[in-house]
Symmetry: D2
Subunit: 373 residues, 4 copies
């Protein structure tokens, strides 16, 4: 065999029948040393394309020798995947209490700063990395052992994070509602963005809002910054994490999934995970913006909406983004209201239903974007 | 003004805040005598394209003289339209008890047969029609006045039916999940089907299952059959009703809506509703089958599904309809299961989500279909 | 061991993760011949007290010798049990399509009448019973083997019915919303009702509406009537089925569950299932009415409701059943509307939420009831 | 008239039919000067008892002369009240995105600190108060006027806050799931707690988590602390805000509502709002704890639960709080698992459903509590 292969199951919750709910964990272990890669999909239950991407990765990794280890956890939220509400999957949040399934990972900034103080001037990167990883895992375990217990989403997140925390590279595969492919990249790893085959890139700061990518890179970034300041030199631990949005939720497409898998291999190849592989990023226009310029357009009206702007296609200020039909005024000039772009923008995703209340997230848009190469 | 125009509101329910929920009722009254036409949309809350169609009909009727009267009731279910469950609209059934919003109309076959016995050999069609309509309205009103009350969906349906029962022509505008345009036609009105611009036609028998089209035509069809048998001649009352499926739910498209409106005008023109209009049906292939041959394919597996067959495009027996991904078996030959067509068929609609439990309605298909002209 | 004991699992569905969903099947087999008893609970996912009743039955049957066999299937709907919508369980219907989980059992009246014609004057009850049961099972199996598949609720129901169809006695354990204990009894088994410790009894006719009790007794009742008419004598096959409503949904109570279990044993003892047991029905007032007199009171208003009448306690015509608060009229005389009893009645259950739309099932009530002994 | 009375409506949202959703605003204005009181109920749609309390307050205020003004906003979330999911009301969060309806109020700490720097040593309390209130209202208005719009819950919250920000006393009426009456009190207003007739009191710190009470008191508390530190004397602005939990959700009780209203009047009387009223707090045991000691017990198991401890009744360490039935193990010793109290505690509320997944909030409990007088 080219790589060692294992399949295990991880119990992440118990359902109301008292039964264990588990996720499959696929592992490929290379014959050479190298980074540990962790890839999960479908923490939001309706965002399923990542499962197809992992399927293709598994097929490809059967004949592709690797360095280090690749851990693949498809369908990582067996609760969320199975909550139907009408014909669709109510996969973004716990139906009991509204908790977003992607906001309960763990990060303790103070603990990182405290750890930083234990690092002496001479300690090697490798030693720091090893000690810090153990420290992170202890923090996670302490968080999980709690007399009073933890909430469901929190438990699920921490059990996955306990696996992911061993990795140098973490990819969390998501989908938008009706969405173009886009990528969240920590600012410090900006250069990595063009190794994926993803046309739209969002740079995010060193701020924790509960997601897995942040929970992964915030500790290392914070540690690195703290040590750099203290010791007046660069500390690069080589830990990167990305949220990859693989198009629209509620649909899967096997042939697109194969391309998505190639894009991930291209990035992994740039990180030295593949041995003698000739996978390079596609030539394509890529656009990027900062998180602060990735804006949500909320509707002020309620009504029936046609989405006139297509995700991924730039729109000029004042152009029509959406038409809202007002069923009470069909015979007069208030029948159709136009919603136009407040500035030049690229719509990245839009709401997936034609019926909206006021205050609905109609579009999320790149503003102040630029092309990157 | 070319036609008289009125707008009213009809209260159909009260919400939990104690407030009235109403539907707009638009009416165009022609200067010449003619049939009464009733068109409603969105009894299923997520099926919203019909509202856009009614919007276009209203624009067109501003400059199109008519005979008789056209009553337009868009967004006829203000409860269903406003039930969001996640980002989508849970519009097909009452979230309290699962009652389909389109199954609570009223039809009393015995009352029709009893009425038939009151018709003498010499009574004119017009007189029978007038007496029978009064009889139907009384039946409805009796049904609605009930010491113990009525269920919400039932009340909504009956309040709409009380308006529709005055019409000679009733169109109920729906959408399928992910769907091609199709049309339910009572067998006795088979000839009417080709006047619409709808490529797929389902002939339905004189059987009542609770929907508005059935509740409209079953009494007249039954009366006609009963009298024909008794008096040995044809009784044609000119009452027709159709359920028109205007593509997919959860999306609206204004330009398609204008074409949909033209198709309805084409049918109305064939029924002599328009004065001097040159609206004729589009030349297009049309396919038809009987309701008994309009089959539902349920999946035996649960999993993540790619829908490989496109609504409206014929599929040969054995061809792939769908692929199901099994996340627990990604490394072996059970990773992807194919679901193939049990016979030659046209898929008309498919389930709108990629995540399915066993027993999900994957596709509804025309089998044993034929081309009609 | 006093009775033989087995535990198995029956797969009834697959979830969206592609995994089997199963129900536990507990069996006690006595050393003496006797009837087969089938008891299931929680086909409606929020109606969970029956699971506690089965728990107590299992404890009691460890030391109680039986004749025949008792099959216990708790938590028989693993899909419905696990659908949370907010903090409660959306257990009455499939969230995808609104299908009531208790309406997809199978009964083919024509097949029964056809079978009846195969019974000769001399055939013994036992032979008829054996042939008819085989005939029923074949019908079920034919129904389940279908190229196009079956809906989820239908599949679940038929898989359970395939087990239940072997039984002579079938109990389906339910709960009402906020409810007194009550019992559905087929009219022909009226005498059985007083062997349970249930104060409120509804006699139901030989009509099939899709539930398990009906699916169980309708074939035997129809066969019996058909043969009795033909051969001018009584045919008693000893097959009985009941829906037992064990109080309110969304609560369990272990000590009440033990009493409930005693009541079931009392009935089973009357059917000769227990050996030398001294379990007799409790002395208590019991009230009964016909299904046609078991009436639903729907509210005409929407608003916030206090339920003033307590399930199980008789109410006089005109007495207050409920108060509805109208939040828009708090300062005037329309602030509170009283809903009063349209006739003398016993409220059996009421809606479990204080917020209601118009057309909500406020109460279900016994009218025209009488005491039985 | 004893007090001036007005009723208005405030539009807070538009629904998917394009219609305005409004809340009633009742106002009593006294003939004497005095504080402005703002009381709202049902921001969480299933928590409806507060509406009955406001009903009773309105009845009582018809004959009770007041100082200042009392503004009453019942049913303040017309969206949340009307979201049914099954028979219950899914009232805690927006069904589209899981946003808690009570977390979108506005507070800008930096703006408060900046304002504090504008206050000179001689400025009177009244002048500061007037300037600061204007400053707060401007901040709110700036927040609401946003080219890109705001989310639904956020809009609703801010529209209500714009009214509440004028008040000196703010009461936000809630309910727990199955709950004893309890009260959130800002630590600085500790003394106010015993003027209500509420047995359980939680002291909360000057921390903002998005709720109305916090959004109300945090700015004044922060201002007061900042000025006190700077000017070395006390600044008491007399602004207080409380979240009052009026028992269990999904039920209303008119006679308890009258008592609840008396308790609120007792508090208002202590704040000099009532003229010559003899309303005093009830003599009753009251228990208090800090927010940090108000603990949530999550279950580690999934299953069917009996809640053995009653909200409001103290429980000793090790005593049984709940029993969990495991339907797969009914015949053995794992059939029932006991969950016991990790320490001495008072259970204040418990989950309202008997079916729980792992990670469910089973109980919220007072620990380290003390009696207060």
């Amino acid at each position: 065999m080219i790589n060692e292969f294992h399949k295990d199951y991880l119990v992440v919750a118990k359902n109301a029948s008292g039964r264990s709910m588990q996720v499959p964990v696929y592992r490929f272990i290379g014959k050479q040393h190298g980074p540990v890669v962790y890839i999960q999909s479908s923490i939001h239950g309706a965002e399923v394309q990542g499962n197809v991407v992992i399927y293709h990765l598994i097929q490809l990794l059967k004949s592709l020798p690797i360095r280090g280890e690749i851990i693949l956890v498809p369908n990582c939220n067996p609760v969320g995947t199975n909550i139907k509400a009408g014909e669709y999957t109510l996969g973004r949040f716990d139906p009991v209490n509204g908790t977003n399934w992607n906001r309960g990972y763990f990060y303790d900034r103070d603990a990182v700063l405290k750890f930083a103080r234990t690092v002496g001037a001479e300690e090697s990167i490798q030693s720091i990395k090893q000690r810090f990883r153990a420290h992170l895992l202890q923090g996670l375990q302490r968080r999980m052992s709690n007399d009073w217990g933890l909430g469901l989403a929190n438990q699920l997140n921490l059990k996955l994070q306990l696996v992911a925390a061993n990795a140098d590279i973490v990819l969390d595969l998501h989908n938008g509602p009706v969405s173009s492919r886009h990528l969240y990249v920590p600012e410090y790893a900006e250069a990595a963005a063009t190794h994926f085959n993803i046309p739209h890139i969002i740079y995010i700061p060193n701020t924790f809002a509960g997601a897995l990518d942040e929970a992964t890179f915030c500790p290392w970034w914070t540690l690195s910054e703290s040590l750099s300041k203290k010791h007046q030199r660069q500390f690069d631990f080589g830990v990167e994490a990305f949220t990859v949005e693989m198009g629209s939720q509620e649909v899967v497409n096997f042939s697109e999934g194969e391309e998505d898998a190639q894009g991930i291999l291209s990035y992994l190849n740039s990180r030295n995970v593949l041995i003698d592989a000739h996978v390079t990023p596609k030539k394509m226009p890529r656009y990027a913006t900062e998180l602060a310029n990735y804006k949500t357009l909320f509707t002020q009206m309620g009504g029936i909406v046609e989405y006139c702007a297509k995700p991924g296609t730039p729109v000029k200020q004042g152009d029509c983004l959406a038409k809202v039909l007002n069923v009470d005024e069909l015979e007069n000039e208030r029948a159709v209201e136009l919603i136009s772009a407040p500035c030049d923008l690229i719509p990245i995703l839009h709401f997936p239903s034609a019926s909206v209340l006021s205050g609905t997230q109609l579009y999320k848009c790149f503003t102040e974007y630029r092309q990157v190469t």
